[in-house]
Symmetry: C2
Subunit: 648 residues, 2 copies
Amino acid sequence: MALTLKRLLVGKAKKTAQAIHERLSKKTGLAVFASDALSSTAYASEEILLVLAAAYAAGQANAFNYVVPITMVIAIVLGIVAISYRQTIFAYPSRGGAYIVAKENLGTTPGLVAAAALLVDYVLTVSVSISAGVAAITSAAQGTSLSWIDNHKVFLCLILIAFIAVAHLRGVRESGALFAGPTYSFLISFLFMVGYGIVHYFFHPVTAQASPEHLKIAEGYGLQPISLFLLLGAFSNGCVALTGTEAISNGIPAFKQPESKNAATTLTWMAILLATMFVGTSVMAYLYKVQPHENETVISQFARIIFTGPMGWFYYVIQATTALILVLAANTSFADFPRLASLLARDRFVPRQFATRGDKLVFSNGIIILAIFAGVLVVSFGGDTSRLIPLYAVGVFLSFTLSQLGMVRHWLKAGRAGKKLKSEEATDSSAKLANSIILQEAAHWKKSIVVNGLGALATAVVLVVLVITKFIHGAWIVVVLIPLLVALFRAIHRHYVDVATQLTTEGFQKLRPITHEVIVPISGIHRGVLKALEYAKAIAPGHVTALYINLDEEATQKLRTKWSEWTEGVELIVIASPYRSLVGPLVRYVDRRISLSPDKMVTIVLPEFIPSKWWHHLLHNQTSLLLKGALLFKPNVVVTSVPYHLKH
Amino acid sequence: MALTLKRLLVGKAKKTAQAIHERLSKKTGLAVFASDALSSTAYASEEILLVLAAAYAAGQANAFNYVVPITMVIAIVLGIVAISYRQTIFAYPSRGGAYIVAKENLGTTPGLVAAAALLVDYVLTVSVSISAGVAAITSAAQGTSLSWIDNHKVFLCLILIAFIAVAHLRGVRESGALFAGPTYSFLISFLFMVGYGIVHYFFHPVTAQASPEHLKIAEGYGLQPISLFLLLGAFSNGCVALTGTEAISNGIPAFKQPESKNAATTLTWMAILLATMFVGTSVMAYLYKVQPHENETVISQFARIIFTGPMGWFYYVIQATTALILVLAANTSFADFPRLASLLARDRFVPRQFATRGDKLVFSNGIIILAIFAGVLVVSFGGDTSRLIPLYAVGVFLSFTLSQLGMVRHWLKAGRAGKKLKSEEATDSSAKLANSIILQEAAHWKKSIVVNGLGALATAVVLVVLVITKFIHGAWIVVVLIPLLVALFRAIHRHYVDVATQLTTEGFQKLRPITHEVIVPISGIHRGVLKALEYAKAIAPGHVTALYINLDEEATQKLRTKWSEWTEGVELIVIASPYRSLVGPLVRYVDRRISLSPDKMVTIVLPEFIPSKWWHHLLHNQTSLLLKGALLFKPNVVVTSVPYHLKH
């Protein structure tokens, strides 16, 4: 029945040979890998405003004006990160994920820190994106007869997460066909809204109506005046716009040839589009004086203002495409998390089950775990995007920093290798080719160090700001969690290495013959017992003993009389049990047999009848289970049940 | 660790031979067997008042006056039942329980109905007595600084139930030493209270102060005038006074010789004492105009009135002895329920585990189940005695009726046997002795039928009144439950009979030699696998096949190369698994082997390494568990794990 349910949910299994590989053009590549990064424009500006609202509520009417300069600074950081990652794309054309780059260049621990940060980040991407997507839907419902769905946000989130997880278990791939439509619809409608909105403002300079009673302030911020700390807090919140920037560098092999060049161009385009949309959103919020509202997103608010009259329908296009791209962004994590977990499993840092491909060739366990963790987060934080944000960016910027630092180290090595090479002479042609690659990298190692070094510095500074300003608002959770995860990875690794050492065949001689004997504990004589005795005689002719625990003198006498009738060649041993225990005397007898000849294997053959209905198990003593439990940890003891199947 | 906890709770195990049998005098017999019946005087009068309160609250000021006549009628029924049971005691001197009497004389189904009724009754005795005992304690706390314990009644009940259950698991016996003190303290202080109270009234005719806002009315009764139905309802409630009357007839063998005579005398005394105390309580309630109160029992109320000044301390004696005897009454069920369950288990109507004696020679499973059911009832009904009462008496009177009807049938048979005997002549002396017993019974069969018939009639009428007046107040639960239990008993019986038929050795030949082969599924070559192969060769020399599922061509090639190094004489079979499943291909292979020679046994030897820490299990694929599950239901297949113990 469980199997039927699985088939219904997951569909038919795929053969291993059915794995297909699709190559992406720049256009579809942008759609597939940029949805995560672009979608963050749906909430990044609003997260800045939420912090500034603390000063606005404290009486500083111009507090919201800071949104534009803060956005500009974040856009500059975005530029630096993008340029820095372009270099990673060329240096690691096969797979440039933070885990690999940090592990190869900085060592295992930094690699594991990056991996832990990324795993946490993927979980948060799902929770944050789905919460924001649901917010786009519930905002559109504000003021209509559907406004009650605002009370069921968490439920909606869980439904969406389950839906995406099942889609991935069914083998949905990150195909261009799936992503192109929603991503480009979002891009075009969003850019249109920004352009239309700015033009519209100069003809109709209306502003949003303030509703102080619904003003939303970032959780953990009381009323307070503008201060450097407050502005840094707003900046930190806005940095979520950068999440997802690294996605393209993880997916280079999926691009058409020349892969690295195409990927790099796509990354540049993504950064430009993201910066434009992000700055555009903040400018719109500034122009229309939009304030964060408890039950409606900022984008929904100004979209309502500018799309009126005959353009009214376009408001719904904006909300729909926003919700859709946010769901796609969560979708991306469902591809990335299982992939990274499988890499870690292959390196033996997480349970090996994460490296097993399911029926549809996907890493099912990773998908399921991600869905569970994301679901727990959504429930814990009430499906509220802004409460999740303080946890979000720490992992992202930690992996950025480690990845960039790894690149700096990479270029240092490349420079040293180049210097060494110049002083030697290549002898054969293959060595010449290898040398030429090294020399090519070495040629620009100084310039490259500066670029990646700047990237590392910028992201490290942001990381420090993030941790300081968001620590008490939730970042501490991630700060505590990442070292714990690394310690767990290490413990798991130690165990696997230890098991491999213990199981190694080195120093092992050829298969040796072993001596063995069989003990059959019996509760009387019935067909099940006779079948077990037949089996015992077959596996150890001449070495079978039947063991009976004497609980009742009368029954024992009966058994003795009956014994010779049936059981030639099997010795019957009767043990007294003054305390009516079955397991204790039996275990003691087995111990005695083992101590007599420590090299011998002892097999306990248990006659066990298998009822045809599950509830019948309740009607029979579960002595064999107890026996198995008691004997499980004894070396040289094997417990075998010989089943006797009851018919009804 | 579980064992340590068990030893701490239950104490050291007892040897089977340690079972001791104590014989009771009439005095101690009264203490041991009458506590249940006598204790019901603590709440029976109050339960009558609770129903009459519906009329009082409706404005009929004299409603409570009916309590005395109703009590008189119940006392008459008690007399009839006691006289009727005296006959049972002489006719069934070994064990006169309703289950036995009904089964022997009326057939299995009436016997099972009586058994089901008794089991339900025992559970309710525990819940009702403990709730009433706790009410005695919380009543005493009224108006003191301890009055807050009234809010923790349920918790107190559960603590007491757990305490009694553990005492029984530790092997507490129904010893005279344990019972004599509390029972006689209760008897003496209670009778003193009744006598003192009546005398006191003629010198100080005070009455209780009515507190209409705290007046308690039986649940399910609205305000209504006096009617026949209401009076019958009050009568039904009062009939709980008869519960426990049958206890002595279940325990005849515990009395000193002559057992039956001593038991019968004790029963007479018990009935007289019970009637006196019950009528006395009702008279006191009438004289002092006590009304049922939400937070205080009726007895506590008039005890407070009469014991004032220098006698004030005696109020606490009354409350303490009442609480104690109620706890003892619950204690009685903890002896009776497991005993009846073990009888049913020996007759194969309930799971045989109920017939197993635990470490202290008690039927542990019965004790545990009773504690759980009673605990559930207490929680469901909020520890409120009066809410449990409508469920209580139905089971009791059902078993009374069946037992008396069984006796009627018994006398009919005795009469017929006597008539037949008179027409014959006894030949030898032993037959003469048997005949004399039959003739002795037959001599008074007509008179006996009248007595037991009157008992059956009286209890049957009460039963009908009970079911009608209490049906919607909770009696329906018992009316539905008893047939369900009987159906369950029958289904269990059918299963056991069926298993016995299937397992019979009849028609079975001597042990036959069987042919068998071994299949060892392997995931590679490591020490655990080599150990499994050694074992496999030992149990089936020359018939061992190793089975490898090919998931990865490269790993398979490696294995093939390594194979011959280690494993002479073992054939390696590699199976393709296009869908990456391990279990499916293996099961199909086994099926093929079996279909080739259906008589052969196939043993699957699984190499299994046993981690030293429990959490390590999470780090390894649980394929062997899945395999065991998949192969469990195949005939002629035996699954054996050969453990390889990891050290750390």
